[in-house]
């Protein structure tokens, strides 16, 4: 009975093979997405290749001496990037040291139930919006508003602690300290939002267990919550370090762009990226190649930080799963 269906119905439900054009579309779509995915690899490789190729002249001429000399003289064709490398490392690490307690503290504050949730959410959103402000606008603000405001305070520090080489010169406007402060503003949202996410992911069982055996809120935070979230926090901190090292515009506008090496944090200085922004446009000949060498160093530095960040997130997060 069941098998006696009329011909129209059977032909309607027959299995059909895919047509050639359908297969063609399918295969070419796959090839298309594979090509697009390989574009990422191609771009990354070619960035390294191009920057390396352009800097070969300087690399062969100066070698590692480039890293330890602070000469930068287009007239005599003598180049060394020590000031810029020192400036890059010093500004980024100093800003990180200020931003870590602020960022992680804020993240803890907005993940704990100290104040009502909508205020905490509002603070979270505001910190994230800070990340949306372009660095050139922060630079503008730093030049016209922040730097004149903090100069008296820096002067005070210079007068009291001027005998220490770090505060040895008089703050006269642009310099390393304002650059460090604007870097803090720029990396704070990264540290805060990543720490917030990883603190939120800590299972509430851990907290309840700690409270149950009589731990206070902050004992729980320091002994249980932070250790459980440390992989994400460290990853965020390293990401912020990478961002601080590569940050260009705000720093270029406020650091004073001087290649004279000084221990003082009030003196004008350079970072690799501000040196590139400042000189690349007008450079020619071996100066371009030296700038490319500096760019290569910057890329290697940020690459190391980023790879280390990805590695540490993997390494530490396995421990707590």
């Amino acid at each position: 009975m069941l098998l006696q269906v009329d011909k129209a119905t059977t032909s309607k439900f027959l299995l059909r093979r895919r047509t050639t054009s359908e297969k063609l579309v399918d295969i070419s779509f796959k090839n298309f997405v594979v090509t697009m995915a390989s574009m990422v690899a191609i771009i990354l490789f070619s960035i390294f290749a191009v920057v390396y190729y352009e800097s070969t002249e300087s690399i062969s001429r100066y070698g590692l001496r480039f890293l330890f000399s602070s000469a930068w003289n287009p007239v005599t064709d003598e180049y060394g990037a020590f000031t810029a490398i020192y400036g890059t490392l010093f500004t980024s690490i100093a800003s990180l040291l200020i931003a870590i307690p602020l960022g992680v503290g804020t993240a803890i504050f907005i993940t704990e139930n100290i104040i009502p949730k909508y205020i905490r959410d509002l603070i979270g959103i505001m910190v994230e919006l800070l990340a949306a402000i372009p660095s050139v606008v922060l630079g503008l603000w730093a030049v016209f508003i922040m730097e004149p405001f903090i100069r008296p305070f820096l002067n005070m520090v210079h007068e009291i602690f001027g005998f220490i080489p770090f505060f040895g010169t008089e703050p006269l406007g642009a310099g390393m300290m304002p650059a460090i402060l604007i870097l803090v503003v720029m990396i704070l949202p990264i540290i805060t939002s990543i720490s917030k996410d990883s603190l939120n992911q800590v299972p509430s069982n851990l907290r309840q267990a700690a409270y149950g055996i009589g731990a206070t809120r902050w004992t729980t935070i320091f002994k249980v919550i932070i250790p459980a979230a440390i992989s994400g926090i460290t990853g965020g901190v390293l990401l912020a370090l990478g961002r601080a090292m590569g940050e260009t515009m705000a720093v270029t506008m406020i650091i004073g762009n001087s290649n004279n090496f000084s221990w003082s944090i009030f003196a004008p200085s350079y970072t690799i990226s501000s040196m590139l922004a400042n000189q690349f446009g007008e450079a020619d000949g071996s100066q371009v190649s030296s700038l490319m060498y500096a760019a290569l160093i910057l890329m290697i530095l940020t690459l190391m930080v980023n790879v280390f960040a990805q590695w540490i997130v993997k390494k530490l997060s396995l421990k707590y799963q």
Partner: protein, 304 residues
């Protein structure tokens, strides 16, 4: 139960641990206030100071050469159109590449060695300083004059911005597609859809709002970038009038801010503030738009 053991169980604010606890809470609240302060200060300065220089003429006029006319510096019109054009060029390059790459990662090779490498590569690319993107495009496009003999051009600027947008788009596409339940894929393949049909009609629509959030955030990042433009697109004071103008220097809001902030003339500085007002308003509305799409999406998913 005697009185003393009961007392031990009640909260005693004078205990060292309770004082320490309070102190740390206050410190963390202070840190939160300090973290929010720069946003409030920057936003209010940009909106009030920048907004006060905004009028119809500022929005449409071309900027005057610095020092030419001390009373009026013209406007920021060409910079606004330039920012839009270069962001548009960047997005027509990076959206297909980013979404295509994300589709490959999530749909074709979830954990293959090449996919792992591409994921790692896009993370590394996201960490490449933006100025390096500018240096790279300068070396391969501007200095080689590969674009029909033109050197600094809006197109070169757009291409360098696309390098910065790419990692964001590829990552959000990958993650959005990974969140689409596998049942949908199996159901589509089970009724005989080809993989292409499945991706186009089932998984992409399901992940559409998250992907568009990623694209909008990428756009916002590209529109605010300065470093890759200062030696690829350079700056121009003029509106573009024909298609050919895309192959010449092009102004943008961010480069205008950078150039005019460092000019010694008051009127130029005012234009820089006006330009940052426009730029911040554009970027904040893009960010709020992306949040809104996300929320709308979560709402509609909860309903289902």
């Amino acid at each position: 139960m005697d009185y003393n053991s009961k007392k031990a169980l009640t909260y005693n604010p004078s205990l060292t641990r309770n004082i320490g606890n309070k102190a740390l809470t206050i410190i963390s609240a202070l840190f939160a206030i300090i973290s929010v302060l720069p946003l409030i200060l920057v936003i209010s300065y940009v909106l009030i100071k920048g907004g006060s220089y905004i009028n119809f003429e500022t929005l449409i006029l071309e900027p005057e050469p610095p020092g030419d006319d001390l009373l009026s510096a013209g406007g920021i019109g060409p910079a606004i159109t330039g920012t839009f054009i270069m962001t548009f060029i960047a997005s027509i390059i990076s959206i297909p590449v980013g979404v295509g790459g994300g589709i490959y990662l999530a749909e074709y090779s979830k954990s293959g060695r090449f996919a792992k490498f591409v994921r790692f590569g896009s993370n590394v690319l996201a960490g490449v300083p933006s100025i390096i993107a500018g240096v790279f495009i300068y070396a391969i496009i501007v200095s080689t004059k590969i674009l029909f003999g033109s050197m600094f051009s809006g197109i070169a600027g757009g291409i360098s911005l696309s390098i910065l947008m790419l990692p964001t788009i590829i990552k959000t596409t990958d993650e959005a597609l990974k969140l689409v339940p596998d049942n949908l894929r199996k159901a589509a393949l089970g009724i005989g859809a080809s993989k292409f049909t499945m991706i186009c009609n089932v998984t992409l629509p399901a992940a559409f709002s998250s992907i568009s959030t990623g694209i909008i955030l990428g756009l916002a990042r590209a529109a605010g970038e300065t470093a890759p433009l200062i030696f690829t697109a350079l700056f121009s004071r003029y509106y573009i009038t024909s298609f050919d103008d895309l192959f010449y220097e092009m102004g943008s809001l961010s480069v205008l801010i950078y150039n005019f902030a460092l000019e010694p003339y008051e009127s130029q500085n005012q234009l820089a503030w006006a330009a940052s007002f426009i730029l911040v308003v554009i970027l904040l509305s893009l960010n709020i738009l992306s949040r809104w799409i996300n929320r709308l999406d979560a709402f509609s998913k909860n309903k289902v």
